[in-house]
């Protein structure tokens, strides 16, 4: 090819007005619609959040004296004070198994409820209902049902199955039950919708190619569902990690369920040490972010594109 190079006019200046050129780049009056959102984010999130971070570097005199570390005294205290630092482990011990349980149990339930059958609506309603209850009502119910004098224990004692009442509340188990009751509906709803986003004909195709149900699940459904599972896990984990009322009401607030939120509240309301309370709150966020980062890292190795369905 020996066509002579066509001399193109260098960067022909657009003759459109400035306003038009800005609009092409997405700058126009419709941006004003963002103002309320920006105001709220600034006033209710960014300002208090930075203020809280600022507070953590203004440790009280008592903390500074006890733990040293200058402006970082609050953080030194957080890591060195076993009573405080143990709460990280205690919270994780609750939140991780609960989130895992909610996700893993939701998968088969969502699978079963995928097809149409008689009573599906009723069953779904029953599974989702706990969302409406709220933590306090759940805790109250648990105390009445599973407490020492609750009718579960009385029933089991009376039929002679147990000799002593089971200890199901005011401990680790009580909080765990409460978190599952309130977290499971979320996990179930999310996973159901992710599952309905997978085109059923993809599974049918695997079937005609000779895959049995285990192979179909492991090789086709699971990889397509994995990103959804990760998201669901993160959400239920965060929900469980910030547990506060049930840790107090059906837990053992100064023992096995001394979660981070309780520690923060203690610093804030009992010791009136706002900087320490802020430090605990910030550290809660940091731990959550760490877990989320690990999950997202795992997710990044998974297929993330379309799953062909209506999702």
């Amino acid at each position: 090819m020996s066509a002579p190079p066509v001399g193109r006019p260098k960067a022909a200046r657009s003759t459109a007005s400035l306003r038009h050129r800005l609009a092409e780049r997405g700058v126009d009056t419709s941006l004003l619609m963002l103002v309320p959102a920006l105001v709220f984010t600034g006033a209710l999130f960014i300002y208090p959040f930075s203020y809280g971070i600022g507070l953590t570097f203004q440790p009280s005199a008592a903390i500074q004296e006890q733990w040293g570390g200058g402006v970082f005294a609050n953080y030194t205290a957080f890591f060195k004070d076993a009573f405080t630092f143990d709460s990280v482990y205690l919270t994780m011990r609750l939140a991780l198994p609960v989130a895992l349980f909610n996700v893993l149990v939701s998968i088969p339930v969502a699978f079963k409820l995928r097809h149409r059958f008689r009573g599906k609506k009723f069953l779904t309603t029953l599974l989702v209902l706990p969302i409406t209850l709220g933590t306090v009502l759940t805790a109250q119910g648990l105390l009445i049902f599973a407490g020492r004098q609750g009718w579960l224990n009385r029933f089991l004692l009376q039929i002679g199955l147990i000799d002593e009442p089971l200890k199901l509340v005011h401990n680790y188990l009580g909080v765990m039950f409460s978190l599952i009751i309130s977290g499971f509906p979320f996990a179930f709803l999310l996973i159901s919708s992710y599952l309905s986003g997978i085109d059923p004909s993809i599974e049918a195709a695997a079937k005609t190619m000779g895959a049995d149900w285990k192979q179909r699940f492991r090789r086709v459904i699971l990889p397509l569902l994995a990103p959804g599972l990760a998201t669901t896990f993160i959400l239920t984990f965060v929900l469980a990690f910030s547990v506060f009322p049930s840790a107090r009401l059906v837990g053992d607030a100064m023992g096995e369920t001394r979660v981070m939120a309780l520690m923060g509240y203690r610093a804030f309301a009992e010791q009136i040490d706002y900087p320490m309370a802020s430090t605990i709150a910030i550290m809660m966020g940091v731990v959550e972010l760490l877990v989320i980062a690990v999950v997202l890292l795992w997710r990044s190795f998974m297929y993330k594109g379309s799953t062909g369905g209506k999702g």
């Binding site: 085109d199 993809i202 049918a204 079937k207 005609t208 190619m209 000779g210 297929y303 799953t307």
Partner: protein, 380 residues
Amino acid sequence: MAIAASKFESLELTGVGRSFGGVDALVDLNLTIRAGEFIALLGPSGCGKSTALNCLAGLLPLTHGQVLIDGKRVDTVPAANRGFGMVFQNYALFPHLTVEKNIAFGLQMRNVPKAELKRRVAEIIALVKLEQHTKKLPGQLSGGQQQRVAIARAVVLEPRLVLMDEPLSNLDAKLRLEMRTELRRLHQSLGLTTLYVTHDQEEALSMADRLVVLREGRVQQIGTPEDLHDNPANWHVADFMGYRNLIDLDVTSVDGSTVTVDDKGFMLRGTTVEPVTVGQKVRTAIRPEDLVVVSPAEPVIGGNTTTATVSVVEYHGREFAVGVTTTGGRFLHVRADHAPAIGSTVELTADPARVLVFQVDPNDVATLSVEERELLEMRT
């Protein structure tokens, strides 16, 4: 060619039926498929053709009848063990697997040794001309390429029977024509036995060895493309086979199989397909290309002629598609080798053998499907 279809003598469907909660989607389908045949299941949407396919694939259990291969029942065998390949309408490719892995999936499920698996996958990829795209995900392919992956994935397993569910309906017109030839070529070179579902009569006529026309879950006619094209068994099949002129006329005389039909001066001679008597209301089916405007190059055929007024003229390349209105106010599609003036009266002629006369049930309207009723309303 190392990839070849597994053999059987015949596949027999006897009284196959499927109902959904009391509603019959498919009723009493009897069909014998010989090895190597290309059979098209043809019908309008909702006629039960996809149901038939899914039943055969084992994705839907039968409610009546059975499916036999060489005398052995297969309708009780789970879908995973039937050894049929299926191509889905939306392709149903695994979106998280590359082209290569999509195709290898079925072979892996069958524990085919690695060396053989590689060889077979490479071979089929060459056959469907996707060598450039083996490492791509389905989402990165065009519709036609995805289509070829779907076909390769089904065919690489050397299935006894390939089921295709409107595989070309999502492609654009040009690609559809190309893939049609491609499918036919694959079918012949691999010796596949294919059951092909479509609502496109042209597609079915051009590809299939035999056609099965379904309507409302019931078989209307089974035959070769020529059979169906020239001798539809009833007016429903005629309607579906491109007999665009379906007119209700009265029989004025019967002479053997030749009858004269008339409506307010619009009179033609035709051939009966179903027995009729004088005075009976009948439905007459004529293809547009069989009803032509008389001109020096198009002489009157067998003295069979009538007149009508021109109302629409469309240019179609070599000929003109003309819409005419009869004295009775009926609109007909005819062909002409010239463009007649709009509003002029033209003479039409048709070979009496190509004017097919069918019985029509007087309370037929009640038995029509919604789609057919809409079409009928448009016509009258």
